[in-house]
């Protein structure tokens, strides 16, 4: 596998790294990253980071994966972070290298993913002169980073790296950018790595206010129709077990947002499915009929609430648990705010929670679930995308790490691949970034060499980062790459059909490469399936083949994602679609 562990023990290595030698900024950077336990960095070299790359040369302790595009590097670092909870790291050069990271930084920012993004910059002596390959990357990324640094003095570098890791991975997580001018990476100074971080003005509240937790418990004891809306925060804080305990004790039904999938087992009888635009009938109607809504690590995104006034109209109270106080009250009026780390809040709540009488409500939920399951009209002549996802789920027992790109296939994956464990579902929620799916799978696989990683993509999005096939081939990264080929920009086609009255404008992907040949051109095995039998055979072959495999499933072009709530509607005004 690609991450090699050195022969040295961790302690030996630490001791070596901490020596107060006089070293360059580049060497200090590598040492600091190793001291932060980073086991693989994704990146792409260039003039402004050549000292850094030079320091990597022959360094047996430092692992770096050369992607084929900076966007591939940052999405890979993102997938690494989402699948492990550790901080993902990527490196790019100044100017075009740095700006190629922008989409990935915004993606991580929107979904609260801890990243440390390292960019080179031109020398401090020429900063501000429009020097060759200069870009004000800290300025460009200010709105999409949790924090950023422009390092002006090599002596600050270790402290800044320590701070960056701390900021990225605590409170509400997010990307932190460190911009290192070329001369700083070459300047020398004695190495000193701080043990502690002290940043005045940065003290995320992780311990909740007990009174607010008690108020929440009182509200729960009184509620007859409570619902939990669980988001990515449950996954990120590692609170999945506490949530199950909480739900078992309170008998409150749970809906998990797109980023919350896996944060609560889909096999649980009280799971309602996903809410919102492509949510389940049960989840959306439960939200509209609940008398108490408990948001846990969920930020009430407009794809979840749809028309906000009209969202959860019968909720007498809304409880909102979040580590970011700015989320509370931002979208919905909150009666009981609980600021804190979700896991700690639930632990505290679990100590003395008393259930209300939710039995009638639970019966309603179960009936609704039985009456309105997710369905689609299957076909024996055409391959249906939903069928493909169901097959992926079935044949892997729901045990794989699944990453997706953005579009219809993403929604079908969210609907038909049932997740039972946190960190097994990786998708760009907040930004909806096409091109994210495949490289993020590479990062997830690097971090989880022993797990099965499946990357599900549309034929459109696959073409946004397909160059990273090279990485899989060369490094034998055994991602199973799925392309759901409907020959169009499917999700756009769906909107144009339903909202723009069948006026199909620029969605035809004619001219796409032969995906099987594309894979083979890079040295990755390629397979194609156009009907159910072929699908099963090809997929089995993919699973049985060690190493990376791309499987293209040619599916029905006109298939739509249902249920669907159109913009301006409340979430119970659902188009249920053409099920049978």
């Amino acid at each position: 596998m690609i991450v090699q562990t050195t022969q040295k023990s961790k302690e030996q290595l630490r001791e070596e790294l901490l020596k107060p030698d006089v070293i360059t900024g580049s060497e200090a950077l590598l040492r600091s990253l190793l001291l932060e336990d980073v086991d693989c960095v994704f990146g792409y070299p260039g003039g402004a980071v050549l000292y850094i790359y030079d320091a990597m040369h022959g360094n047996p302790d430092f692992n770096h994966l050369l992607t084929r595009h900076e966007q591939g590097a940052i999405h890979a670092a993102d997938g690494y972070a989402r699948s492990t909870g550790k901080v993902g790291v990527c490196i790019a050069t100044s100017g075009p290298g740095a700006t190629n990271l922008v989409t990935g930084i915004a993606t991580a920012y929107m979904d609260s993913v801890p990243l440390v993004v390292i960019t080179g910059n031109v020398a401090t002596t020429v900063i501000g002169t429009d020097a060759f390959q200069e870009a004000d990357i800290t300025g460009i990324t200010m709105p999409i980073t949790k924090h950023s640094y422009l390092v002006r003095d090599v002596r600050d570098l270790p402290r800044i790296i320590k701070e960056a890791f701390h900021i990225a991975s605590t409170g509400r997580k997010g990307p932190v950018l460190i911009d290192i001018p070329k001369d700083v990476s070459n300047d020398a100074s004695p190495f000193y790595y701080p043990e502690k971080v002290e940043i005045r003005g940065y003290n995320p509240t992780v311990q909740p206010n007990r009174l607010q937790v008690d108020r929440m418990l009182e509200a729960i004891a009184e509620a007859e129709r409570p619902v939990i809306l669980a988001g990515g925060g449950v996954v990120y804080s590692g609170a999945a077990d506490e949530l199950i305990k909480f739900v078992n004790a309170t008998r409150i039904p749970v809906t998990t947002t797109l980023l919350g999938l896996g944060g609560f087992p889909s096999a649980h009888e009280l799971w309602l499915g996903m809410p919102g635009m492509h949510g389940t009938h049960t989840a959306n109607h439960a939200l509209q009929n609940c008398d108490l809504l408990i948001g846990i690590g969920a930020r009430f995104d407009d794809r979840v609430t749809m028309k906000v006034n009209g969202f959860a109209p019968k909720a007498k109270k809304i409880v909102h648990i979040d580590v970011d106080p700015a989320e509370i009250g931002k979208i919905v009026e909150t009666a009981i705010p609980v600021v804190g780390d979700v896991k700690i809040v639930l632990e505290m709540a679990n100590q003395k929670v008393k259930a209300g009488d939710t039995s009638a409500w639970v019966d309603w939920v179960k009936e609704n679930k039985a009456k309105y399951p997710l369905t689609y009209k299957d076909s024996d002549t055409e391959l249906k995308p939903q069928y493909v996802i169901e097959m992926l789920h079935e044949t892997t027992n729901g045990e794989a790490i699944v990453t997706t790109d953005v579009g219809q296939h993403q929604m079908w994956s969210a609907q038909y691949y049932k997740f039972n464990k946190p960190r097994s579902w990786i998708t760009s929620g907040g930004l909806g970034t096409m091109g994210f799916g495949f490289p993020s799978a590479i990062g997830a696989q690097v971090a989880n060499p022993d797990r099965l990683v499946i990357s599900i993509n549309g034929d459109g999005g696959m073409q946004m980062c397909s160059q990273e096939l090279a990485i899989c081939a060369i490094n034998k990264i055994p991602v199973k790459i799925v392309v759901i080929n409907n020959q169009v920009l499917g999700m756009v086609r769906q909107w144009q059909e339903i909202i723009y009255d069948n006026r199909y404008s620029h969605i035809d992907l004619a001219g796409s490469p032969d995906f099987v040949k594309l894979a083979e051109a890079y040295g990755v095995k390629g397979l194609r399936a156009t009907n159910k039998d072929e699908a099963r055979t090809a997929w089995k072959e993919a699973l049985d083949t060690p190493g990376p495999v791309l499987v293209e499933f040619v599916v029905r072009k006109h298939e739509n994602v249902f249920p669907m709530v159109t913009q301006g509607s409340t979430i119970d005004q659902m188009i249920m679609g053409d099920s049978e």
Binding site: T138, G139, M142, P143, K146, H147, S148, L150, I167, R172, I199, R200, G201, Y202, D324, P325, A326, G329, K330
Partner: protein, 160 residues
């Protein structure tokens, strides 16, 4: 209901901190009426005073979002307390010698000062709350204002 709010923000004196704060306002659709920055009582920290309008909910968001910036140490809504707010303006006004006595009358009433005299103009310096400066400019308008420069409000809570 929208009100005018005066917020004081204590920040680390880091490069880019003004950009972070003002950028946050722009990006989140919060309005800045004025912003002043200067050193604070503590070395390494600056104080920004920002005047903004919005309802209570907006103000709460503004303050929470500001706290999310790593370089922001403290945010206080000064207007929630009895406060002193002051602004300075320099007004270059047309002043032919014949008109000067009248103008000087206005200046005196407002306890403003003339800080420069040119052949056909005066620069008037006025300090006070924004309303006072508004009133002063209104009164000087008839003479012809050639240039007006205001500092924006700086403010403090009374007493304590």
């Amino acid at each position: 209901m929208s009100y005018k709010h005066t917020i004081s923000v204590l920040v680390n004196n880091q490069p880019g901190v003004l950009q972070r704060v003002s950028g946050l306002f722009g990006r989140r659709g919060f309005n800045i009426e004025s912003i002043t920055v200067g050193e604070s009582e503590e070395k390494g920290l600056s104080r920004m005073v920002i005047v903004t309008t919005g309802d209570d909910k907006t103000l709460e968001q503004v303050s929470k979002q500001l706290y999310k910036l790593i370089d922001v140490i403290k945010v206080v809504d000064l207007s929630a307390n009895p406060m002193v707010g002051r602004e300075l303006a320099l007004i270059k006004v047309n002043a032919e010698p014949s008109a000067r006595p009248e103008i000087l009358g206005v200046v005196e009433t407002f306890r403003a000062a003339v800080v420069d005299i040119g052949p056909s103009s005066l620069i008037v310096q006025v300090v006070g709350d924004s309303e006072k400066i508004d009133a002063m400019t209104e009164l000087l308008k008839p003479y012809g204002i050639k240039e007006l420069s205001r500092t924006g409000v700086t403010a403090m809570i009374r007493g304590k």
